[in-house]
């Protein structure tokens, strides 16, 4: 009892550790998702930038909008280099955030240069400011938003004073800056909405992973606890019930032999004695079913040989055992796991497979450093692994048993041709 209580106290810690690990993982997953999205956005913005350059080329070719053709060509050259460079950097930049910050400064400067050639605040290209602002705010967010807005506004002021047509008034600048603020707010709103969606998706994924890990942990603990409990119950049956029944039986027997008792009483005492003996017999069989001590004292090979020897007279199929005795286990848990899988498989085969021939084999590692391989194959009907009932825990438990020890569990089945269960122990559990 002491041991059991101590274990219970330890267990919650495990869950806490698992949860903590999950939080860290989830945070880093969220970060990874964010970065992936940012990279994607950066790529899309790069294509928009190319579109802007194309617009500039069209302006140069079709309309005589600029007073200074030489500088316009220079802006085109610079713009081309900048656009190509920013596009090239997306997949090569060490930090995509830093790359995004650079373009969030570069874009308004390019827009300002374009506007400066084509009439300042009143230029056809002035809306580029709104576009770049929207794009960068959407990508970056936070304190950066204010800085980018300030940069855009400052560039607009410069354009107003140095490059605008004489008919442009201060009201136009005010309206332009008002629109910049408006675009910024729109960008912030969109960015919030997107982040919320992303974090929702991430938290759903986290919840799912946590639930899966918990189920797995619980199942493994359940398997371990079941095995331990069975061992304890079998031990108790042996140490207490078995012995007490013997004592009871002897007591009844010696009473029945007592000379002074009437015959009918003697007879009843004798039959009670027989009853006690039958009980003792049942206890003995139950002990073995719960947890064969042979498994603990002699190991998997002997336990499975005995089990198969017993079973082979009780099953309607031909049962062949191919055990390589050179396989050595260095952990009892692995042997118990294999034994339970053999038991579970044979029960399944007997119930469902309609097999005529079953082969159980334990082979040493196929390659050096690998693990021992247990296979159980039958020539029965096979089944559809996708159609097993959800309530049927057999396969799941077998898989968890194997995987809990770091091994692998495979089941291959062909309808009408039989089923093979393959369990590979990890290196170290058997050699």
């Amino acid at each position: 009892m002491l041991i059991r209580r101590a274990r219970q106290r330890e267990r919650p810690k495990l869950v806490t550790v698992l949860e903590a690990r999950d939080h860290i993982e989830a945070d880093s997953r969220f970060e990874q998702h964010t970065l992936a999205h940012l990279r994607q956005a950066e790529r899309e913005v790069a294509w928009l930038r190319w579109l802007g350059i194309v617009a500039w080329v069209l302006i140069l070719l079709w309309r005589d909008m600029t007073s200074d053709v030489g500088n316009a060509w220079a802006v085109l050259g610079g713009g081309l280099i900048y656009t190509a460079w920013s596009h090239w950097r997306i997949d090569r930049a060490g930090s995509i955030r830093a790359a995004a910050r650079l373009t969030s400064v570069g874009d308004p400067i390019l827009a300002a240069l374009m506007c400066a050639m084509t009439g300042g605040i009143g230029s056809l290209f002035y809306p580029f400011f709104y576009f770049t602002l929207l794009a960068t705010v959407f990508r970056l967010g936070g304190r950066d938003v204010v800085l980018i807005l300030a940069l855009n506004a400052a560039l607009s002021v410069v354009l107003f004073f140095f490059a605008s047509a004489p008919d442009i008034r201060l009201t136009d600048l005010t309206i332009a800056i008002f629109y910049l603020v408006f675009a910024t707010l729109l960008g912030v709103m969109l960015a919030r909405w997107a982040r919320k969606n992303l974090s929702l998706a991430t938290s759903r994924e986290k919840a799912f992973r946590l639930a899966r890990d918990r189920t797995r942990l619980l199942l493994r603990r359940l398997i371990g606890a079941q095995e331990e409990e069975r061992r304890l119950v079998a031990g108790d049956l042996h140490d207490r019930l078995g012995h007490q029944l013997f004592v009871l039986q002897q007591g009844l027997g010696s009473l029945a032999d007592h000379d002074k008792l009437p015959d009918d009483l003697k007879l009843r005492l004798k039959s009670l004695g027989n009853e006690a003996q039958a009980c003792a017999n049942d206890v003995r069989l139950m002990m073995n079913d719960l947890r064969p001590t042979v498994l603990d004292d002699f190991g998997f090979c002997e336990a499975v040989r005995e089990y198969v020897a017993r079973m082979s007279v009780n099953v309607p199929f031909d049962l062949t055992l191919k055990i390589d005795d050179t396989v050595e286990f260095d952990e009892r848990a692995a042997e118990a796991m294999l034994f339970r899988i053999v038991q579970e498989s044979l029960i399944n085969i007997r119930k469902h497979a309609k097999a005529t021939r079953v082969v159980i084999s334990l082979a040493p590692p196929v390659y050096a450093g690998g693990g021992a391989v247990l296979t159980i194959s039958d020539d029965g009907e096979g089944f559809d692994p996708h159609k097993t009932e959800p309530g049927h825990l057999g396969l799941l438990t077998m898989r968890e048993r194997a995987e809990a020890l770091g091994g692998t569990f495979e089941i291959s089945t062909i309808s009408g041709e039989g089923t093979t269960v393959t369990v590979t122990l990890p290196e170290g559990h058997a050699a």
Partner: protein, 213 residues
């Protein structure tokens, strides 16, 4: 007739008392000592040299099988009867190999234990019926497994030897003067009999089981 002296080894005190009472009621059986602990029992038995020892298998500390080995060496003439809850063939086999000549289950009646005592005392051996059947089944299982190993045909052994030389199916076919399909058929049955998954595995198993050199 001289009374038979018996020593009891069982960690369950009440059970030892019950056995003692039951046996002493027979008149010609005397319990000369008893112990719940293996090491102490061995020392006492070496000193008392009883005619018989009745031993439980599952005890804390030194297990019954180890105790049997020790007392059989210490007092070779003494008869040893296992009195246990376990009917598993492995225990029966180990106990009888260790020197026990009687095996009775605790779930059996008084008659079985008395029969065992009489038999062992007269120099015979006694296995309870419930124990004999699983033991025979288990031995049959061994025989089946052994039989499978010796089932390799001469041809299959030849193919195995070729395999161990690293020959391909084609080379094996020509060196044994059989068709390649026949070689494949031999391989298939070899894998089956050896429980091998491929050529290398078959050779590995065959070497380990010393089917080839």
């Amino acid at each position: 007739m001289k009374a038979t002296s018996i020593y009891l080894i069982d960690d369950h005190h009440v059970l030892r008392q019950a056995i003692a009472t039951m046996l002493e009621a027979e008149g010609d059986l005397v319990i000369v000592g008893q112990s719940g602990e293996g090491r102490a029992a061995i020392n006492e038995i070496a000193e008392l040299k009883p005619d018989l020892a009745i031993v439980d298998l599952k005890m804390p500390g030194m297990g019954g099988l180890a105790v049997i080995g020790e007392i059989a060496r210490a007092v070779p003439k003494m008869g040893i009867i296992v009195f246990t809850m376990y009917d598993n063939p492995a225990y029966v086999w180990e106990a009888t190999n260790g020197g026990a000549s009687g095996y009775v289950l605790k779930s059996a009646g008084k008659d079985d234990l008395l029969r065992a005592i009489r038999a062992v005392r007269s120099g015979a051996a006694y296995l309870q019926a419930e124990v004999t059947k699983p033991l025979l089944q288990r031995l049959a299982q061994d025989a089946r497994e052994q039989g499978r190993k010796s089932l390799l045909s001469t041809r299959e052994v030849q193919v195995l030897e070729c395999l161990s030389d690293g020959q391909s199916n084609k080379v094996i076919a020509s060196s044994l003067a059989i068709s390649e399909d026949t070689v494949k058929a031999h391989l298939k049955s070899l894998y089956e009999k050896l429980g091998a998954s491929d050529r290398a595995h078959a050779v590995a198993i065959a070497l380990r089981q010393q089917l080839i050199e």
